[in-house]
């Protein structure tokens, strides 16, 4: 911290005193009362050089546009960037806390090299040179001995992983993962299968830039929504899709009705007109019952029963097949309750809701136009059968005519701005390689060695990070594609910004595989490298740690989740503190070291010669912005041909400074650059349109057929690949009794749910509680080292139930890991910790009260412990804990670490052998437990 002492600060400010003349304008001279201020008051405020930078958040996936102020180079305030429509100037507590990331005493400051055993957390300080050489040398060895595919690059929870992917794709491994693989893939699978998108969100982003009849553009602030149903989706607390928070309450004031379906009374439910406390893991059941009600009661001639919009089916294929398959279940009896599948009574039995409520919900959703049915992580993303839920949910939105209509739902993945593909994907997909399979030399593409798609998870479109411990342990067995029959071990793990050892599926398994040794006493995984700003649990297993610049010290791009193409710049607010470096620098350093060590795949022209400055890298990505077709109503650019791809800055497109390529169907304006963004409030916004799926010339639907598919072309192609490769049925499909991926309506039960899956009914008595996780925005993985976020509560999950403690803080500094001599006292009740939310009635029955320490034990014998928060805001029989928030063993988390013994980790209790059959997602929310008082 020396470099930023007050002495220097004051010196700097003295030099720039006049810069803030208006502070001394004497407006306070007007103040009266008992005090008089005068113009000549010597204490009149004079600040140093104040600077505002437009940038964007990367502290969470929402990535709000920010306006960050510095005074003499120190970050002072963080406001929202009012020009970014995504957040329109607003930020939440987490967004406003960013400076505690930058100036965090616990952050990683210098490169470190391990001195103890993996997991022990003993490190010494190293130079960048030494650390980079260390990594490059081991990567070189692994590539020579096992092939580059033996290295996994995990791009982690934060955005802007592109430079690392580029490096590792050029190095030759196709195994580049990222956060999405462990986030909520079952939630995305429905939209992915049906329309090639991923994230269905309500049309709530305001303002949107809309083309007016007279050709001008106008910000539209109006809300068209009439009904919004959130199922297991809690934008107010969990993932703050920024505009959904302010949009939901605004639309509600405008007359929209809001329904929240959630076992817990979430903060979103607080503002709902109706809260339906559903039984965990029964979302698919609710959707199926709704769909049956809608199909059974639909009557095109009765305005009170006109649920299905036949017009919409014109933009789809395969619906009759889907409907027929769905209806074929109606006569079957469910062995759990002996009721016909998907009937209201069946739905009531399964969901724990009243049959009338389900009927009402279905009816309301059917007749209200526009309406939006939205499901989230907890409802779908983290349940074994979330894939069923999201597919049914997508179907419900489409057949009722709510897809991409004003006030309906928008698949944001299909409409957001493109930010390029220079992450090396093209390179790895085109790179021809040879491997010896069963004694024969086989030629294929490097991509064909990708561990998930060609191994256990052929349909996992974002990888299956939760299943990685298995691959670490057993190696990768390629089952499909040209290299079918080839095996390779996992020998290197390069993780950046991710923390699988605490949140990536079952943490015990990660511990086992990262510390596993071979017969000679060497670690089986020869390299674990960890790159981050925060020192998290995965870092404790690393051989080498590189300190990465925090998001306010580096560049990047944000384009996430909006309803229209928007691109904004993550700009450097302050240069990296200590010895942290940005991703482009790290990429170049590692590339150069690999090249110098003889890796011929890595050349200067692709790295350090090409991207001399950090900005060069991001400018290249911006070349493809916005990259969306000129489609929809109102047509974004009536002056240009409909359906053409639009590229370039908004102002050049408006001004007609474009080249139109009729052959490629491209309208090319002046390329977007970081510099352009800086000159335009940090953001580029292109016009909004709706009905973008209807364009004849190629709308936004990105399935192969360019139509909404109820006969899933994607899974059909996967099945074809499986057949061509010898027909090995993926093991998770086998577990649910399928021999191939379903290509139309499919149904399977979730796991560890005694109420919906007969295999687990036997646990009902002994393990009476369903354990689910509830995301609390301010308690997510790395977030907890930010002091301010420990000072606020959340949803009876993140509460100040800490006991009094006197601690020796641990920091990572010049000496490596240092336990400080001085003690700090943490007063009881002064710090939020992860707690176990339990229904107050259940607590009374068990003679438990808020603050009591309990153990949770699952049928597999795993345990975790934490304090009870007795709450009226949760369904009886359900326990909720914030994921990844408790039992944190890294001292880099500050006060949260100090409470590791009394805070729960739900990750310890999840079933490591079950992942969602299609996407390979860990089943974070499927478990039953019993409660034992400690």
């Amino acid at each position: 911290m020396k470099s930023l002492s007050r002495r220097q600060f004051v010196g700097g400010s003295a030099a720039a005193m006049a810069a803030m003349g208006f502070w001394a304008s004497g407006s306070f001279a007007l103040a009266a009362g008992t005090k008089k201020f005068t113009d000549s008051d010597p204490e009149q405020a004079v600040l140093g050089e104040e600077k505002a930078v437009y940038t964007s958040d990367a502290f969470c996936a929402s990535e709000c546009g920010l306006k960050v102020t510095t005074v003499d180079g120190v970050i002072t305030t963080i406001y929202g960037n009012v020009h970014v429509p995504y957040n329109a100037g607003t930020v939440c507590s987490k967004g406003a806390s960013g400076k505690q990331v930058v100036y965090n005493p616990y952050r990683l400051k210098y490169p470190l090299i391990r001195t103890g055993n993996r997991g022990e957390g003993k490190f010494r300080r190293a130079s960048w040179e030494e650390a980079i050489q260390y990594i490059a040398q081991r990567l070189g060895n692994i590539k020579k001995k096992y092939g580059p595919e033996s290295v996994i690059m995990d791009g982690g929870d934060m955005t802007d992983q592109t430079p690392y992917w580029r490096l590792f794709y050029y190095y030759g491994t196709p195994n580049c993962a990222q956060h999405g693989a462990i986030c909520d893939t079952p939630r995305r699978v429905g939209p992915y299968l049906v329309e090639g998108g991923m994230r269905i969100e309500p049309d709530l982003m305001r303002p949107v830039l809309v083309r007016q009849p007279d050709g001008t553009l106008k910000n539209d602030y109006s809300y068209q929504n009439k009904l919004i149903i959130y199922v297991g989706w809690n934008p107010f607390t969990a993932t703050r899709i920024n505009y959904e928070s302010r949009g939901t309450v605004a639309a509600k004031q405008n007359g929209a009705k809001v329904v929240v379906v959630d076992p817990a009374f979430s903060n979103t439910a607080v503002h709902a007109d109706k809260w339906l406390p559903i039984r965990p893991g029964a979302d698919a059941d609710l959707f199926a019952a709704m769909l049956r009600y809608i199909l059974a009661n639909n009557n095109p001639v009765n305005p009170e029963r006109r649920y299905v919009d036949p017009g919409y089916l014109a933009y789809s294929t395969g619906w009759p097949e889907f409907e027929t398959e769905f209806r074929s279940w109606w006569d079957k009896k469910d062995p759990v309750n002996n009721l016909p599948y998907f009937s209201l009574e069946w739905g009531a039995q399964r969901t724990g809701l009243a049959g009338e409520d389900i009927a009402e919900l279905a009816h309301m959703f059917g007749i209200t136009k526009p309406a939006a049915l939205v499901w989230g992580m907890n409802g779908t993303g983290h349940h074994f059968n979330g894939e069923v839920t999201s597919t049914l949910g997508t179907a419900l939105n489409v057949i009722t005519g709510n897809f991409d209509v004003p006030g309906g739902v928008i698949d944001t993945a299909l409409v957001r701005s493109d930010k390029g593909g220079n992450d090396g994907t093209d390179y790895i997909k085109g790179k021809v390689i040879e491997r010896t399979v069963n004694g024969k030399t086989v030629t294929g593409k490097a991509w064909d060695l990708e561990m998930d798609n060609n191994g256990d998870w052929p349909a996992a479109f974002w990888g299956a990070l939760g299943a990685y411990p298995k691959q670490f342990k057993e190696g990768v067995k390629i089952a499909y594609g040209p290299f079918a029959g080839y095996s390779y071990p996992i020998k290197g793990f390069f993780v950046r910004g991710g923390n699988p050892a605490s949140s990536g599926s079952t943490i015990q398994r990660w511990h086992d595989v990262l510390t596993a040794k071979d017969g000679n006493g060497n670690y089986q995984t020869e390299l674990v490298a960890y790159v981050d700003t925060a020192y998290l649990e995965t870092g404790m297993y690393a051989d080498v740690i590189l300190p990465e610049a925090s998001y306010l010290e580096r560049m990047g791009l944000s384009d996430i989740y909006p309803s229209e193409p928007v691109m904004y710049l993550r700009d450097v607010v302050v240069p990296p503190l200590y010895e942290a470096k940005n991703q482009v620098e790290i990429m170049n350093l590692l590339a150069k070291a690999l090249h110098d060590a003889g890796d011929a795949d890595i050349q200067g022209k692709d790295f350090w010669d090409k991207y001399k400055k950090e900005e060069d890298f991001w400018n290249e990505m911006l070349l493809k912005s916005p990259g969306r077709n000129n489609v929809g109503t109102p047509l974004p650019y009536p002056q240009y041909p409909e359906g053409y791809k639009i590229l370039g800055t908004p102002d050049s497109l408006e001004a007609g400074k474009v080249k139109i390529d009729s052959a490629k169907k491209v309208v090319q304006g002046q390329p977007l650059t970081a510099e352009w963004l800086r000159a335009h409030n940090g953001v580029a916004v292109w016009p909004m349109a709706w009905y973008r799926h209807q364009a004849k010339s190629g709308g936004i639907i990105s399935t192969k057929s360019k139509k909404m598919e109820f006969h899933f072309g994607y899974l059909e192609a996967v099945n074809k690949l499986i057949q061509q490769s010898g027909g090995t049925v993926p093991y998770m499909l086998q577990k649910i009794g399928l021999s191939q991926f379903p290509t139309t309506f499919f149904w399977y039960e979730t796991v560890w749910n005694p109420y919906t899956n007969p295999n687990y009914a036997k646990y009902k008595q002994e393990y009476p509680f369903q354990l689910i996780s509830g995301r609390i925005h301010q308690s997510m993985s790395a977030t907890q080292y930010v002091d301010w976020l420990g000072r606020i509560s959340g949803e009876h999950l993140w509460m100040p139930l800490n006991e009094e403690k006197t601690v020796h803080p641990t920091v990572l500094n010049e000496k490596g890991v240092e336990v400080l001599a001085g003690t700090k006292r943490i007063r009881a009740g002064s710090w939020s910790v992860a707690v176990i939310q339990m229904n107050a009635g259940d607590a009374r029955q068990l003679s438990l009260k808020t603050g009591d320490l309990v153990k949770l034990r699952n049928p597999q014998g795993e345990e975790t412990q934490g304090r009870i928060m007795a709450s009226e805001f949760i369904r009886p029989g359900v326990l909720r804990v914030p994921p990844g928030a408790g039992n944190r063993t890294s001292p880099g988390l500050g006060q949260t670490y100090e409470y590791r013994q009394t805070t729960p980790s739900s990750n310890r209790l999840l079933d490591p052998d079950l992942s969602s059959p299609i996407t390979g997602m860990s089943t974070y929310n499927d478990m039953v437990v019993k409660v034992i008082k400690v």
Binding site: S793, P800, I826, A828, S830
Partner: protein, 428 residues
């Protein structure tokens, strides 16, 4: 009034047994320990400001404010006791009245020290004089204390002047101090002068009665006028403060006379018995008021005061009420005063016990008004070690209190040593 040979008196009339010498040594050791312990608290206060206190923004007043009202009550009580002689001409206490004045002065200094240390900016204390806001009950308090302080000094001076002049002949420091205080005066006061001093004392004491009632009832009002605090905001508070002052001041004085009056004669026995009865009466009155204070708001078990008082009685620090306030400060002294009414020793113990444990009563007046959130949910809104509703004084707070007490003891011992008249040692 007969002149005494002061030099003779020390050896002959006050006999110090080996046992009491051992006690004195023990007392000195205890005092020294208290002082050193307290000195560390003083260092913490001066070096770290409020940092080492356990107070927080939701419980912004703690041990120091409580001990301040404890001391100020002792002062007011002692002073009012002295007026029984100087205004109401109660003969029995005539000999002990000057001591009561000195005790009032010392406890006033202790009170002012306590509240001064409680100020965030101790150096800005003068602002209350230069920029007072007379709408503030606290500003009134400070001005009334100042007036009381000046009055006490003069009254004490006039009450002691005759014996001070006599004390000029004392050897050592005591004589020096007497000479210093009496200026150039050589000969003894004339009877006329004594009478004039006596009249001045009577006038000052008479003025002092409303003043003491004003400032101490006013301290109660300082709390009672705060609308925001349900428990405080009651008309009984100023009365409770006053009765508490009488009780604690009277009890302290009873204890002091019982143990520190050198001559264990009939006068001593009669005086202690009288003081004991006064204390007993006040104790019963105090108990009645406490009953009123607690029973009225709690009777039907609803309302904010109920919750706050319930916390006081049955919360984590309920023992302060049950064990200390009710047990040590009420029931035990009551038993001692009733059953041991004829034993000066038992009466003295009762007095000391009440005076010392009366701090618990003061804590229970200050804290219940602060322990529950003024707005529901405040305790879960923003967390900090300084934003919690749970207060237990920190060691440095106890240490600073120890410092103040050690200063008070030192002043008392010094006064008694330097002014033999206070303990009747220059009077026949």
């Amino acid at each position: 009034m007969e002149q005494m040979n002061l030099a003779d008196q020390r050896g002959s009339q006050v006999s110090i047994s080996p046992g009491s010498r051992a006690l004195m040594v023990a007392g000195a050791v205890i005092w020294l320990a208290l002082f050193v312990f307290g000195l560390h608290g003083l260092y913490d206060r001066l070096a770290f400001g409020s940092l080492k206190t356990a107070m927080d923004s939701y419980i912004p007043w703690g041990l120091w404010v409580s001990s301040y009202i404890w001391f100020i009550g002792l002062s007011a009580g002692s002073f009012l006791l002295s007026t029984l002689v100087y205004v109401f001409k109660l003969k029995q206490l005539e000999k002990v009245a000057p001591l009561a004045l000195v005790v009032a002065l010392i406890t006033l200094i202790m009170a002012l020290l306590s509240i001064w240390f409680d100020l965030g900016h101790m150096g800005r204390f003068y602002r209350v004089y230069l920029h007072p806001n007379f709408r503030s009950a606290m500003a009134w308090m400070v001005w009334l204390y100042t007036a009381y302080f000046v009055l006490l000094i003069f009254e004490t001076y006039f009450a002691l002047r005759a014996s001070l002049v006599r004390g000029r002949s004392l050897p050592g420091l005591a004589g020096g101090i007497s000479r210093l205080l009496t200026g150039g005066r050589q000969q003894a006061l004339s009877e006329e002068e004594v009478r004039r001093d006596r009249r001045k004392v009577t006038i000052l004491a008479t003025v002092g009665i409303p003043l003491a009632i004003a400032f101490h009832g006013g301290v109660g009002a300082l709390f009672a006028t705060v609308v925001a605090r349900d428990v405080w905001h009651t008309a009984i508070y100023p009365i409770i403060f006053l009765v508490g002052a009488f009780l604690s001041g009277g009890a302290l004085f009873t204890g002091l006379i019982a143990f520190f009056w050198p001559k264990r004669d009939d006068y001593w026995r009669a005086t202690v018995r009288l003081l004991g009865r006064v204390t007993l009466g006040l104790l019963l009155l105090e108990a009645l008021l406490t009953w009123a204070e607690l029973s009225v708001p709690m009777w039907y078990g609803v309302g904010p005061e109920y919750e706050e008082l319930k916390y006081m009685l049955f919360g984590p620090y309920g023992w302060v009420f049950w064990v200390v306030q009710l047990g040590l400060c009420t029931l035990v002294p009551l038993i001692l005063l009733v059953s041991g009414g004829k034993s000066p020793r038992a009466t003295g113990w009762a007095g000391i016990l009440i005076a010392v444990t009366f701090l618990s009563t003061r804590l229970n007046l200050v804290l219940p008004g602060l322990v529950t959130p003024e707005l529901a949910g405040l305790q879960f809104s923003y967390h900090d070690g300084r934003l919690i509703y749970n207060y237990l004084p920190s060691w440095p707070e106890w240490q600073l209190l120890a410092f103040v007490i050690s200063v008070g003891i030192a002043l008392f011992v010094f006064a008694v040593k330097m002014l033999p008249t206070l303990t009747g040692r220059d009077v026949a």
